[in-house]
């Protein structure tokens, strides 16, 4: 008969030294390790130290007898099974029953028959080993659990800092996030550019929980830093796309929508890659427009294939935008019926402006009837209200920060860009960064940002790309205009734009002088609208009127390809 023989650690408990020796010899010849105890008390001590796999126990011993010792041993180790074989000279059935019902697993009669002992050990061996493995695995599992709990704790802390709600505090924005697990794989971000344009982003990483939330980490930093510098949402999307591709495995892309709400240019722009359609509703709740997903999610396409087409919609009245992750419309009730778009729109139609989030939450709760949703839910509602925006601007004016005394006149900074740079570089954030270093206040920065953006757009769009603003007046014109602009910029092979900023002293004031010159043919400078035209004109000319309203003076130099704008910073301290 072939007996398996895995070496075990065996504790032999007997007050008879001779028997212990015999057993040791035999067991060691079978490759087992042996520890000996001469009494029940010693057995307990050794048991804790040697951690045996199996115990051979004499029934009758002075002091603590075999049955009592067995009981104590079983008590010491309740999570791992250690078989106890009683060695007994008794052939009394009642005592054997007592032994087996008091923690014994089997018995052998003395004198010990070695072949039988060996067979019994072999039978126990398999169970012991299996049990040992289960025990080790459960320890491993507990360790793993502790570790992952710890990882979760750190990740949660990190995520809560990165995606903190206070970053989402904007008068236009209300939001809601409910995650399916400890951590959400969705991410919402909102910030304003130096020109007071509101950017929001809703991103949804592949999967749920920890790995999904790790996924969305790389998207926050570019969003906030680039918004603060005044980059466009497309430039931000492009940057995030490159970052995700660089950092993440290919199956870990991120669906995202970036929205820009520009109340000054009265325009909404959206870049949507893989997020369900964003609704535009008026105050009554009628759907005015839908921004469907037009792009692949971020992190899939290489840089050169990235599609930077944005979709635009004019703000001609107070509007509401609703952006949400698929977890919202796919939240299912018991019958598996999804929440869907219709319920979403209905919830908004029946609620007052400003209470959209609560209304949608109520509708979801009612739909789910106490069931849990299996995917992360994120919701952002943007209330684009003219009155609210004007209030914000007024407040900002009132909080006019003191310009640092460090602002010194006499410095100049110039950029001269050719076709290659014009395609690649956004010059405005660069200049704003320079002004940052020169202690220009935040409010002034935002006004200078508006002026520069306008002058630069004029030089590029009309001076070098020969675009006609009248194009924007037709229905869908803004979209067509920007498509055409992208196309012509791509094909641009000659032309330059020079930008210069300088701080000079004029009439006892520190003045920021901005010069923008393009290599184009210019235009009829007598036909430039003044600031009172701001209200009358729609798109074309509106920009220049805005520049005039913000500046001390605007001078177009013939033939119209060069403009100088003076912007008052502060009175010179005497």
């Amino acid at each position: 008969m072939q007996l398996s023989n895995v070496p075990m650690m065996i504790l032999v408990v007997d007050d008879d030294r001779m028997i212990r020796l015999l057993l040791r010899r035999f067991l060691e010849s079978c490759e087992h390790q042996v520890v000996e105890a001469a009494s029940g008390e010693e057995a307990l001590t050794l048991f804790a130290e040697a951690n045996p796999d199996i115990v051979l126990m004499d029934m009758v011993m002075p002091g603590m007898d075999g049955i009592e010792t067995a009981k104590q041993i079983k008590k010491m180790r309740d999570e791992r099974w250690t078989p106890i074989l009683f060695l007994t000279a008794l052939d009394n059935e009642a005592d054997l029953v007592a032994a087996l019902s008091n923690g014994g697993d089997d018995y052998l009669t003395k004198p010990v028959n070695f072949p039988i002992l060996r067979a019994k050990l072999s039978a126990f061996e398999r169970s012991v080993m299996l049990n040992k493995r289960v025990h080790e695995q459960s320890i491993e599992l507990a360790r793993y659990q502790d570790r992952s709990r710890e990882e979760l704790r750190v990740a949660q802390h990190l995520m809560s800092r990165i995606v903190s709600g206070d970053k989402l505090a904007d008068p236009f924005l209300s939001h809601w996030n409910s995650s399916a697990e400890f951590l959400s794989g969705d991410l919402m971000a909102a910030a304003r550019t130096p020109g007071d344009v509101l950017y929001v982003m809703l991103a949804d990483g592949v999967g749920h929980g920890l790995t999904a939330s790790l996924n969305v980490l790389p998207v926050t930093q570019p969003f906030y830093t680039m918004t603060a510098k005044g980059f466009s949402i497309v430039e931000i999307a492009r940057e995030i796309n490159a970052k995700v591709r660089q950092l993440m495995p290919r199956d870990r892309f991120i669906s995202a929508v970036l929205i820009s709400v520009d109340m000054i240019a009265s325009r909404i722009e959206v870049w949507n890659g893989g997020i369900p359609k964003v609704f535009v509703l008026d105050s009554s709740g009628a759907v005015k427009h839908e921004f469907n997903s037009k792009h692949l999610p971020l992190g899939i396409l290489p840089e050169y294939m990235f599609d930077s087409k944005v979709e635009a919609y004019p703000i001609n009245e107070d509007l509401r935008l609703i952006a949400y992750s698929d977890g919202l419309i796919e939240a299912g009730d018991e019958g598996g019926e999804l929440f869907g778009h219709e319920r979403l729109i209905k919830a908004i139609t029946n609620c007052d402006v400003g209470h959209e989030v609560a209304a949608i939450q109520e509708a979801i709760v009612e739909h789910l009837q106490g069931h849990t949703h299996h995917d992360d839910i994120s919701l952002m509602v943007l209330n684009c209200q003219r009155a609210l925006f004007d209030e914000m601007r007024l407040k900002a004016k009132a909080e006019e920060d003191i310009v640092g005394d460090k602002l010194t006149p006499g410095w100049r900074f110039m950029l001269d860009l050719g076709p290659a740079e014009l395609k690649r570089v956004n010059a405005i954030p660069l200049l704003i960064h320079v002004l940052d270093q020169m202690n220009v206040s935040r409010k002034q920065r935002s006004e200078v940002f508006l002026i520069l953006t306008e002058l630069f757009a004029n030089a590029l769009d009309h001076g070098l790309l020969f675009l006609d603003s009248a194009m924007k007046e037709t229905l869908g014109g803004v979209d067509d205009y920007f498509d055409e602009r992208a196309k012509r910029l791509h094909d641009l092979f000659e032309g330059r734009i020079k930008l210069e900023v300088a701080v000079i002293v004029e009439d006892g004031q520190n003045v920021l002088r901005l010069d923008v010159e393009d290599s184009g043919a210019g235009f009829d400078t007598t036909d430039v609208p003044d600031s009172s035209a701001l209200i009358k004109v729609a798109h074309s000319g509106k920009g220049i009127a805005l520049v005039r309203s913000l500046s001390k003076q605007v001078v177009f130099h013939p033939p119209g390809n060069h403009v100088t704008v003076d912007y008052v910073l502060n009175a010179v301290k005497v």
Binding site: D204, V206, R250
Partner: protein, 101 residues
């Protein structure tokens, strides 16, 4: 989800049944690896006819498949996409990456 791979000349057809989601990793990988391993196969067709649901993890797996298929110079086609599966693929604009039929 269940997945099986059958061969039709130079085309390996991977038929999926059930919910294609984050629990389908192993099943999906084993089925596509069969098709990818065949040197004569020029195209893998993923048949969605019996798929009643897909999630973003499934899109991730399709991206991995595409990466492997590109390396092995094989085409990937998604066929019989309808209902919820179709919607999810459309929102992610996967028709820009894969042939859909």
């Amino acid at each position: 989800m269940q997945a099986s791979c059958s061969f039709n000349g130079p085309v390996a057809v991977v038929s999926l049944t059930g919910r294609f989601d984050f629990n389908s990793h192993r099943v999906f990988r084993e089925a596509i690896d069969k098709g990818l391993a065949e040197p004569n196969v020029r195209q893998l067709t993923i048949d969605f006819k019996s798929v009643d649901y897909i999630d973003s993890s499934a899109l991730g797996m399709l991206m991995l498949l595409k990466e492997k298929a590109d390396m092995a110079r094989k085409q990937v086609t998604l066929s019989n996409c309808s209902g919820v599966a179709r919607q999810v693929l459309d929102i992610a604009n996967f028709s820009k990456l894969f042939t859909m039929e």
